[in-house]
Each structure stands twice: as structure tokens, then as C-alpha cells.
């Protein structure tokens, strides 16, 4: 059986490695073949971008060679897919080559699209790409005081970024001795401070302690850079001296172009992860339309469930388990403290007060990530 994995990020890499170990014998005897196509020969640890934005890490620390992260036996090509021909069980890549498959898994991720809101890209900073994170640091290091507005668009990658960027930036200015010169105003699209109710409650207390003001039900409509004001769909506005955006995201253009899903989001079954209307095509990670966090940990747990299922399809002809909606997120809370949220489709999260030890565990995880991507953790 030929298994094709498209995308060599968090989801694709864990899936490939997990599968390779489950199908060790089948790979040796030629009964199974695993091929990965990706757009880059490098793998980026995306959560590290937050630390780059704050001047605590440099971009070179975020990358590893993709090939070095893969189990032996996985064929890897840097050859991004251009056309998905799911009805013919093949894809066409940029090189012009066609790759056939019996099973395909798509994990092409998501991208921020600040340019879709008038004025947002030019007038705000964000942490979502290497270039943006560097600009973020340069901007905050020159900032001498004023009103910082954090404005959040949906959907976005990593639901913990809005509180994390707020608390860590607050500490950054405090450490520079600017606490008295900087004020913070936080806006959020729905009727509370965070989509997870317990996180929202916890944030209320933390905001009160730091004097951070907020407006909820605020969806960014446009930014007027001359007047330095951001306006909401709901009809209100917020004045800023420094605008920090969590821009809305879309899936990759190639997904939309191939009619696999509007906005680049691929409709899949929430338990089996097969693409609607297909039994041999699957999607995982940020690019699915499942209403759960677009987070590395979602991609991780989906990859584990899918690897088990794809391996059993090869071995016994049918999948054996369901993905239960499991997500685990660290939440950096500033002052060297952190907490976490864990939940699935049936059990809500219950984050505990932040502690130093969880912060240090998160710091360790920044390194352990590479072990996790190899599928060992």
C-alpha cells in the first residue's frame, strides 16, 4: 500500500514517524510505502516565534532539517503539491511529477491573512511568521510608552496566543521600566476574554491586578493608521499607539484552489478524520474544519489516532479507533509562570493557577518538541 503524506509540519511529521514504526515490517518487505511531500526542507518550531518576538530566542534556534526528523524508510521530497486529484488517487506537484497513492493524509497547515482587513497589515505587529516576529521585537524595543491595543481575529492558530502575548508583553515593558508609561487594552471577538470559559475567568483576575482594560464582542473591521484607531464590525473603536494583532487565519491557497474546502479548511469527519466523501483521503492539523483549537497539540493527538487507523487499514483492512477531540495547551502567564488546559469533545478544560514549575516544563518542552515531532514523546 502506498501512503502519501502532504505537509511536513507538526501533524505530517508525527503521523509519518508513528506510521513508520507501526509498519516497520511492512516497510521492510515492501508491503507498505510511506512518501512525504513538503514545501520546505526545514521544519520550524512555530511556538518559538513568541520568544523571537520578545527577543528571548533567535530565529535560527527554531529550525531543524526536516529529513533529520524522519524515521528511516520514509521517502521525503521537497515538492509542494499543486493539484489534488482525489478521484484519481493522485496528486501533481510543483516539479511536474505525479504521485499516486492508496491512502493520503493532508496536513498543510494554516497561514495568517492580516492583509484581508483594510489597514491591518501595515499598522499592526504579530508573532505569526519569522519576519513578523522580528518586526515585532524591533517595534517593541523602540516603543517608549502609550496605549497598547491587542486585537484578535478569528479563526487563529493557537488559542493561547492572545493571553500569552498580552502577559509576556506586559512583563517585557515592565522589565524595561516602562510600567507607568504603558497601558494595555485587550479586545476579543466573543462575549468574554477567552473562548475557554475557565481561562476567561482566570484572565479577568490577572487583568484586574495589572490594570488591563478590555472590550469583548469586538471583531476587527478596519484600521485607520492615520488616526491610529481600530474599528470593530460591531460598531465601536479603540485608539492605539501600538497595535498588536492576532490576525485571522486561512488554510493554504492550494486547498481552496482545488475545491477541497472554503477558506482552505477541509471538511472531515470529527472522529475518523476522513475527508467528506472519501474513505481513503484524510486531513489533520490546522487545515481541517473541525471546531477545535488550531494547535500543535491537536495535530499531535490527531496524528496519533490517524497513524493507528492507517496502520490497521494496511494490516487488517479497516480503521480501529476514533479521535476523541483531545487537546492540550500550555498557557504562559508572565512572571515566569504558566498553566495548561486539557480537554476533549466530552470533558471541558479546568486550568489551575499558574506555577513556576509549569513554566519551566514549557521551557523544557521547547527542546523536547523535537523528540515529540520524531514521534517518541
Amino acid at each position: 500500500m502506498r501512503i502519501l503524506i502532504v505537509g511536513g509540519g507538526m501533524g505530517g511529521t508525527i503521523l509519518a514517524n508513528n506510521l513508520a514504526r507501526r509498519l516497520n515490517n511492512e516497510l521492510k518487505t515492501g508491503k507498505a510505502r510511506i512518501t512525504m511531500l513538503s514545501a520546505s526542507d526545514k521544519h520550524m518550531y512555530q511556538p518559538g516565534l513568541l520568544y523571537v518576538a520578545l527577543g528571548r530566542m533567535t530565529p535560527d534556534e527554531l529550525y531543524r532539517d526536516q529529513a533529520s526528523l524522519l524515521e528511516p524508510g520514509i521517502e521525503f521530497h521537497v515538492d509542494p503539491v499543486d493539484e489534488f486529484q482525489l478521484d484519481k488517487n493522485q496528486v501533481k506537484a510543483k516539479s511536474g511529477k505525479t504521485y499516486g497513492y492508496d491512502l493520503i493524509a493532508i496536513a498543510t497547515g494554516s497561514r495568517p491573512v492580516p492583509e484581508e482587513i483594510p489597514g491591518l497589515a501595515e499598522n499592526s505587529i504579530n508573532v505569526y511568521t519569522e519576519e513578523a516576529a522580528l518586526k515585532f521585537f524591533q517595534t517593541i524595543s523602540r516603543f517608549q510608552g502609550g496605549r497598547v491595543v491587542i486585537a484578535v481575529g478569528v479563526p487563529h492558530k493557537c488559542p493561547m496566543i492572545p493571553p500569552e502575548v498580552t502577559f509576556t508583553l506586559y512583563d517585557y515593558f515592565k522589565n524595561r521600566g516602562l510600567a507607568d508609561k504603558v497601558s494595555f487594552h485587550y479586545t476579543y471577538p466573543i462575549g468574554r476574554l477567552h473562548s475557554l470559559e475557565p481561562v476567561s475567568k482566570w484572565m479577568e483576575g490577572e487583568f484586574a491586578q495589572r490594570g488591563i482594560t478590555s472590550e469583548t464582542l469586538f471583531n476587527i473591521k478596519e484600521v485607520d493608521g492615520k488616526k491610529r484607531v481600530v474599528r470593530s464590525l460591531e460598531g465601536s473603536e479603540a485608539k492605539y499607539d501600538l497595535l498588536v494583532a492576532v490576525p485571522a487565519h486561512k488554510g493554504m491557497e492550494v486547498i481552496e484552489k482545488n475545491n477541497l474546502g472554503k477558506g482552505g479548511w477541509i471538511p472531515v469527519d470529527r472522529n475518523r478524520l476522513n475527508i467528506e466523501g472519501h474513505t481513503n483521503a484524510f486531513a489533520l492539523g490546522d487545515t481541517t474544519n473541525i471546531p477545535i483549537s488550531k494547535a500543535g497539540s491537536t495535530a499531535h493527538f490527531e496524528a496519533e489516532a490517524l497513524a493507528e487507523n492507517l496502520a490497521s487499514i494496511v494490516k487488517i483492512g479497516s480503521p480501529t479507533r476514533d479521535y476523541d477531540g483531545k487537546v492540550f495547551c500550555f498557557i504562559e502567564a508572565g512572571k515566569d509562570k504558566a498553566t495548561y488546559a486539557m480537554f476533549n469533545y466530552n470533558n471541558p478544560p479546568d486550568p489551575k493557577p499558574p506555577t513556576k514549575s509549569i513554566h519551566w516544563f514549557k521551557m523544557a518542552y521547547n527542546q523536547l518538541y523535537w523528540t515529540s515531532a520524531r514521534g517518541l514523546l
Binding site: 466573543i190 471583531n219 464590525l233 477531540g325 488546559a341
Partner: protein, 82 residues
């Protein structure tokens, strides 16, 4: 022969048991890529959605078509008006 349809098929967001990003957030995201006139149905097991979603719809000016509860699942149907 293609059959003419009065309206586009309704898009369903199955947000049952999803805690993050939350049903309203999913709806806001879906509305952005929908066309004016499209209907979206949100399924939510979170009771709060039954009040959250209508509140946002009113504020922004879309149309709330219906809300109902069936066995602990809220069905909220919204039409993109602008």
C-alpha cells in the same frame, strides 16, 4: 439534468462538545467566508451559545432564523445579511 434550487445548501457547523475556539467563534469565522444570503446552522452543546450567538447576530446585523434545543444540543440557524 441539473435541478434548480431555491437556496444554497445550508452549511452545518458541528460544534458539539468543542470547548475551544467555541461555537460563536466558529460562526464568526464561517460568516466571514460565507456569501450574503447563505444560511449557517450551528450545533452546540453549550447552553451559553443560545444567548451568545443571538446577541452577536443582533449587534452585527445578521438574521437569526431559528433556535431550538433537541436532546441537549442547541441548533441555531443564522443568515448572512450583509
Amino acid at each position: 439534468m441539473p435541478v434548480a434550487r431555491a437556496s444554497a445548501p445550508r452549511k452545518v457547523i458541528d460544534a458539539r462538545g468543542t470547548f475551544c475556539p467555541g461555537p460563536l467563534m466558529e460562526l464568526i469565522a464561517a460568516m466571514k467566508i460565507a456569501e450574503v444570503g447563505d444560511e449557517i446552522e450551528v450545533l452546540s452543546s453549550d447552553r451559553g451559545s443560545a444567548s451568545d450567538i443571538p446577541e452577536w447576530i443582533r449587534k452585527v446585523g445578521h438574521e437569526l432564523m431559528s433556535t431550538s434545543e433537541q436532546e441537549g444540543v442547541w441548533h441555531v440557524v443564522v443568515r448572512k445579511a450583509k
